[in-house]
Amino acid sequence: MKSDDPNIQWVKEPQLGLTGRLYLTPVIDGLTTTLKHLFKTASGDGFTRQFPEERPEFGNPLIYRGVHRLNKDQQGRVKCVACFMCATACPAHCIDIIGAESPWEDREKYPQSFVIDELRCIFCGMCEEACPVDAIELTSLFDLTGASREEMIFDKEKLLSVFDATVEQEPMRTAGRKPLTQADASPH
């Protein structure tokens, strides 16, 4: 940058006053600033939250995108109809479904296996959007940890257990709605 660059202007810094030149006010300013912070934090008025003991607050846990769960219907069966919509929508290709013929009357297919690789997932919520039967939902569990990669690959049982663990705090978003199953869509 040249000194005659049209984009810059030259300014004179304000001169130090007498006390400033003697370091007096800067020294006292520095000490009071730090002391204020010291007392503020030491008296328990700090910003830090003690995370594992103290949980953070959510705006609305119902729209938070955390760990997935597989919803169950009234009879405790998995709601999923193995339509592969979520797996198709998933931009991270983290959902792996093996469909099989349903043992139940009201639908043709059900997931024999439903596996989500939580490490590949980017928690975008596309699966939730895509699901025609509201079987897959994202919970507000955000502190997902594991000791190995294998541990972070959630199978159907694990995903259903997430539903059991969270359904009390976060009811199914379609709880009031009439369940939309294949049976509803095309009655026999």
Partner: protein, 383 residues
């Protein structure tokens, strides 16, 4: 009791207390630092993080000792030992007063080396030896950054020895002795703390003590941005721990000296008064130890507090401050104290007090007239 047993017990107490104090001071420093920076600091190991020093100590002991290839092995190993040893030895003369276990008994001096007539001189002599550890550590590491850190540090420590020595001469003139016990007794007997009579000397002493113990804003020897770790870059595990320990011991020593020389040592009006020959019973001795320790703790808190309040000096500013400000101020203080001792009656402390504060005012006026700041022009983006 055998003659050699008493000092041995005292040495054990002093070293034990010192190491314990240092480890907990590190915790306090981390806490103070955290609070000042709006953090909470260590609070996971034990209640309120009180076991953190033990964890830190264990970490130092259990870590792998790395001796890099190409270091001067003997010197590399001697450096941390020498710096820690000299920092510890200086505590031999720190006096806590005398203690008479029962009436008529022989008084026990609460000092490792009591009645050392050159006490203060000894402390300064041994304290300056700490430079060797820094220089040797920096030189033997076979690392240019360490070398630079060591060189800087030695230049800084040597420069600030001069104002440090100059500043305490005023106290020596007032007390008439180098013996630390006498210096405290003089302040306790008269009820005047020398801070009231030596404000200029105290200021010079304080700034020099900060520089000598390499604390911020004078921690040039180890400024991370420029020198990585300074002279102890190549040190690991307990050898690094020894450098850290000695650094803290230097700070404690500086706090002790400030309190003994300028804040009346164990004396406090009414609470820990002067007694004939400074001899007290058990209660009195405990009160004195408590008073001295509290004063030292307050001083150390000041050290920690300033650490986060001001930015570090640039190297030339550091040297300017020593040679162009602190040494002249020390000399002025020395001249004024000398004149007072020559022409004022021995116990006329009020006049001395007024004169010394007038000197401070004179220095401020002189500095105000002579110190100018150059106008600075700088470029900013056009808005």
């Amino acid at each position: 009791m055998q003659d050699w047993l008493e000092p041995l017990i005292k040495i054990a107490i002093v070293i034990g207390a010192l190491q314990g104090a240092v480890s907990y001071l590190i915790l306090i420093e981390r806490k103070v630092a955290a609070y000042i920076q709006d953090r909470l600091g260590p609070n996971r190991v034990g209640p309120y993080g009180l076991l953190q020093p033990i964890a830190d100590g264990l970490k130092f002991v259990l870590k792998e000792e790395v001796i890099p290839a190409g270091v001067d092995r003997a010197v590399f190993l001697i450096a941390p030992v020498s710096i820690l040893a000299t920092a510890t030895v200086a505590f031999a003369t720190v006096p806590f007063g005398y203690f008479v276990p029962w009436p008529g008994a022989k008084p026990i001096a609460l000092t490792v080396a009591p009645n050392m007539d050159i006490g203060l001189l000894f402390v300064f002599a041994v304290g300056s030896l700490g430079v060797y550890g820094v220089v040797l550590g920096g030189w033997s590491s076979n690392n240019k950054y360490s070398m630079l850190g060591g060189l800087r540090s030695s230049a800084q420590l040597v420069s600030y020895e001069i104002p440090l020595g100059l500043s305490v001469i005023g106290v020596l003139l007032l007390s008439g002795s180098l013996r630390m016990e006498t210096i405290i007794e003089q302040q306790a007997r008269t009820g005047w703390w020398w801070i009231a009579l030596q404000p200029l000397g105290f200021m010079v002493f304080l700034v020099s003590a900060f520089a000598e113990s390499a604390r911020l804003p004078f921690d040039l020897p180890e400024c991370e941005q420029e020198l990585i770790g300074g002279y102890h870059t190549e040190y690991t595990a307990m050898k690094f721990g020894m450098f850290a320990l000695s650094e803290y011991q230097h700070m404690i020593l500086a706090a002790f000296l400030a309190v003994i020389l300028y804040f009346g040592g164990w004396h406090f009006w009414g609470l820990a008064p002067w007694t004939e020959g400074s001899e007290v019973g058990l209660i009195g001795a405990l009160v004195r130890i408590a008073v001295l320790s509290l004063k030292v703790l307050a001083m150390i808190f000041f050290f920690m507090w300033t650490r986060w309040s001001w930015p570090r000096f640039r190297y030339d500013q550091l040297m300017d401050l020593a040679w162009k400000a602190m040494i002249p101020l020390g000399l002025i203080n020395l001249v004024v104290s000398g004149i007072c001792e020559e022409f004022l009656p021995k116990d006329d402390y009020a006049t001395r007090c007024i004169l010394s504060w007038l000197t401070v005012a004179g220095c401020v006026v002189f500095a105000a007239m002579s110190v100018t700041s150059k106008p600075v022009t700088r470029a900013i983006a056009k808005s």
